[in-house]
Symmetry: C2
Subunit: 268 residues, 2 copies
């Protein structure tokens, strides 16, 4: 299996150094790959149970990517076997008036996982160094300041026993065209399409640049980013599934010890 570290951006990272169409984590036929994904999803369910039983620790998975990059699909398939009880998904939309009335990390801090929980953020605090940067609402200096605040915030989370896993779903512009066109052509998918998606697509290069910068600035030792080649959906799911299983296994979660007071106890 390839090394995950090869997909962690460094300080001079270039987004085009990773091919969105690559499938390094795919092995064997499609049926074999699907079988492996199913096994990973089941393993993830077991690990999540252990996380819950251990109590003291937390896991936060952050999913970022352009429209149609597959954030919803990842959640559906990677957590396909996990009890909804153990996985708390939070989707971040454009900030409300209440949210804009505080600093940009306020609404994120409010929904960090509690002890024993695995939380998944569909979009995140990183939206606040994407849209405002591309639209020019904030200047370079303010963007840099936000990177620093983000790194401090994530340091707080990891220092207090949260394992943070950040995935950028990396698709090509051509693949996005295909997926958007599908949403337009297939009436059953029309609800997923908003005209505003085309505006963001017009700014494709600016968004890629903004992603490149944030990946460089906020991929840290304690909270690394992983750039996931995501043109192939099955590969995307396999890679993220493998990554989660590896990171959760590295936490060395153990089943809580048996209670000696219960030995020999008979329920009458």
């Amino acid at each position: 299996m390839p090394r995950f570290d090869d997909f962690v951006p460094g300080k001079r990272f270039r987004l085009n150094s990773i091919d969105p169409a690559a499938t390094p984590f795919s092995k064997g036929s499609e049926a074999e790959q699907k079988g492996r994904l199913d096994a990973l999803a089941a393993r993830l369910d077991e690990l999540q149970d252990l996380l819950h039983a251990n109590g003291g620790r937390r896991v936060l998975l952050v999913l970022q990517g352009m429209d149609t990059s597959g954030k919803d699909g990842t959640i559906r398939w990677v957590f396909g076997r996990t009890s909804p009880l153990g996985v708390r998904v939070h989707a971040f939309k454009a900030p409300t008036e209440e949210e804009r009335a505080r600093d940009f990390l306020w609404r994120c801090h409010a929904v960090v996982p509690r002890a024993g929980e695995l939380a998944v953020w569909n979009r995140s605090h990183y939206e606040d160094v994407l849209v405002p940067t591309v639209e020019g609402w904030i200047d370079r200096e303010e963007t840099e300041r936000r990177y620093t605040h983000i790194n401090h915030f994530e340091q707080l989370l990891t220092d207090t026993h949260t394992v943070l896993i950040k995935c950028m779903l990396h698709i090509s512009k051509a693949e996005q065209r295909r997926r958007l066109q599908q949403r337009i052509d297939d009436p059953a998918k029309n609800w997923k399409f908003a005209l505003g998606d085309l505006d963001a697509r017009k700014q494709w290069d600016a968004y890629q640049k903004a992603y490149e910068r944030l990946l460089r600035a906020t991929s840290t030792k304690h909270a690394p980013w992983y750039v996931i080649p995501a043109d192939d959906k099955l590969h995307r799911n396999l890679m993220i599934g493998e990554l989660l299983v590896e990171r959760l296994k590295a936490m060395k979660l153990k089943a809580p010890p048996a209670n000696p007071a219960l030995i020999g106890l008979k329920v009458s």
Copy 2:
């Protein structure tokens, strides 16, 4: 008037360099002082109105101090003329199970002031570098790490247009004895007294040391601490009232401009 800067702790600050019984901000007879406090409270009401009208900024007053040091009294008298609409008070108790299940700043971030608000915290995130430190639940290294997280968190708030004012109400051990004794001797004050207060008093020196350390570590340019001589209640109120008025005036809040569209408009 003395300078507030003289009450801001530096890196080598000693708590015993400030006399709790000093009254540098008191002038004239008791009646004159009470008159001035009333004028300050009225001025604070005006400034709070401007803060609300201006919208984009926030103020957070943090009050810390040993039991009986006068946190409640400060809120009562300094904000005696301010509309409760404009001042949001939050009292922090021992953390609940829900709160302990996240990092120690989570419950604080949840109640930061929104735009246009003045929030007062009766105790705060600083409790988490006091009780656990004195009780030995966390070691020196963890305490230092918490100072860093606190400084980062406060930097986020001040960077995003929050003015942070932190007051440590500094009383002497003898004055605390008098006040606790009053709570015991006066049946009408019994409800304010808990036997646990005596346990904390037994650790007086350890708490003073813990305060000294946190004042040194977390008094920053953007979020300074002010050590308030607080044995004299009227002095405590006057000093905090003056400080708030000065800090709010320095924000140069302006009344929003008139709306030209309303000129000559008659309501029929």
